[in-house]
């Protein structure tokens, strides 16, 4: 892409700084080795930060995944236990209801 003119908007403070250091800044356009070093440093800084962010996110996700796996195991065990209890209680309540019925017949006979 060919540019004839580039316009850049900066803050008032930055503008003041650029105006004051114009001569020094002009030289920077020719110091390509220093520019390359700077770009390399900035890119390394960015990549290091990005790597650290990813590591942190992966650690968190692995931890959450582990928690969820443990929860799944617990919920499966609980389900088995609850099904057993439901069966036991249903059976016991049925028997108690039968017993109550027998008792009420006996009481009726007595009266």
């Amino acid at each position: 892409m060919l540019y004839l003119e580039i316009e850049l908007r900066v803050s008032q403070e930055e503008f003041k700084q650029i105006k004051q250091n114009k001569k020094e800044i002009e030289k920077r356009f020719y110091r390509l080795d220093e520019l390359e070093n700077t770009l390399k440093a900035l890119k390394l800084r960015y990549l290091s930060k990005h790597r650290d962010r990813l590591k942190k996110k992966l650690d968190e996700m692995e931890h959450n995944y582990e928690d969820l796996l443990n929860f799944e195991k617990r919920a499966m065990d609980d389900k088995e236990f609850l099904l057993k209890i439901r069966h036991q209680l249903s059976k016991e309540n049925y028997e108690l209801r039968q017993q109550l019925e027998v008792n009420s017949y006996e009481n009726r006979d007595k009266t």
């Binding site: 540019y3 520019l35 070093n37 992966l58 109550l100």
Partner: protein, 138 residues
Amino acid sequence: MKIVIKPEVGWKKVVFKIPDNQFGKIKKLGGKYGFRIDKLLRIILIGGFIDYQDNSNFQDLEREIESLERKLYELEGKWSPLKFRTYYLAMDDQNLAIQISGLIAENKRLRKILGKPERDYSKIEELIHYYMGFDSRE
């Protein structure tokens, strides 16, 4: 190449005139390290240069990042089905807890009428309480 710098507010400007071939070299450097022109210019104009001497290359870092990203994608792929499974499992347990809660109330009443001692429901009630309070957002 003419680079015109203007403040956010106001009509003042500072102009830099850079030979096209020199600007081309700068642009090429920006491309090599993945910097856009505006970012590149801001580094030259405002940021200044960093005195940096380090021989470490970023290909190792990029490879490490790629590997981390791959692990993240893999984990994200496993995460959704697991979350879906555990949600419905917890919902099953919640339904069972509601049913058992009713059965316990009936059992207590029947035992009382028949003069039988009350059973110890503490462990089951603890579980019922846990699943009744289960929030799908957790």
